[in-house]
């Protein structure tokens, strides 16, 4: 009961943040709404019994990605102006298509007979996750770290002033 109330609250917060991202005139305000949405998703992870992901979500998305986006906003725009019109000319068409997609995804989510299991997640999710990352998934893990390094270098090279 209480978790359902919590879910509805967090979900509404998340969706509200997302709508704010899309509809805010100012990109900076968009970014703030994005943070709201990220925090909401973090809450969803807590409800899903994934505390580690919740922490990572905050650390990476709120602490890093959002800050990066805000930096980019400040580096690329004249901060005193708000842009008009902030949507392009295909917003109507795009909106309809997105809505159609939403309906279709909902249909799939409700029609499909998901094989829900009633088993309990492991007691210590963090060690289970750590063992999975360092054991079964060590190769993708290493690839991901190399990927991050490449992205880091690439970002520096691309953004550097020549």
């Amino acid at each position: 009961m209480i978790t359902q109330i919590a879910f509805i609250g967090i979900a509404l917060l998340t969706l509200a943040g997302a709508i704010g991202v899309v509809l805010a005139r100012s990109v900076f305000v968009s970014a703030l709404f994005l943070i709201l949405s990220f925090v909401g998703v973090s809450g969803i992870y807590v409800l899903l019994e994934a505390p580690f992901l919740a922490g990572v979500q905050l650390l990476v998305y709120v602490g890093a990605v959002a800050v990066l986006i805000i930096f980019a906003v400040m580096l690329t725009r004249d901060m005193m102006s708000e842009e008009t019109p902030f949507l392009n000319r295909q917003w109507g068409c795009g909106g309809v298509m997105a809505a159609v997609l939403f309906v279709l995804l909902l249909l799939i989510g409700f029609i499909a007979d998901w094989p829900v299991s009633s088993a309990k997640p492991p007691e210590d999710t963090i060690s289970a996750l750590g063992e999975a990352l360092m054991g079964k998934y060590v190769l993708p893990f290493e690839v991901a770290s190399v990927f991050l390094l490449v992205a880091l270098i690439g970002a520096i090279v691309v953004a550097r002033e020549r």
Partner: protein, 103 residues
């Protein structure tokens, strides 16, 4: 477990569609990037929810969510670097101005 799986799927679908809408309609390149981030978050919710509800004893869902987060971080870094580079070249990041690659 008193929250049905479909609720999470609904939330993810909504988040995805909103992010998609942002991607399709924002004029600002950073806005598009934010739409992409929303979509990635929606995907992550799905991954973790499916992992929690269908294979709770394995952590595969969370592992993949970790990889997606990694990817998203890298994508944000490179994407924003590109945007800054574009801004230096065109003095604008309005995607309506950037249509060089056309007929």
């Amino acid at each position: 477990m008193d929250i049905p799986l479909s609720w999470y799927l609904t939330l993810a679908a909504g988040l995805f569609s909103i992010g998609l809408f942002g991607c399709l309609t924002r004029r600002n390149a950073i806005g598009i990037l934010m739409g992409v981030e929303l979509m990635l978050n929606a995907v992550n919710i799905n991954l973790v929810a499916f992992g929690r509800y269908i294979t709770p004893e394995a952590v595969a869902g969370q592992v993949f969510a970790v990889f997606v987060i990694t990817l998203a971080a890298a994508e944000a870094a490179v994407g924003l670097a590109l945007i800054i580079s574009i801004y230096r070249t065109y003095d604008s990041i309005d995607m309506e101005d950037i249509n060089l690659l056309k007929w």
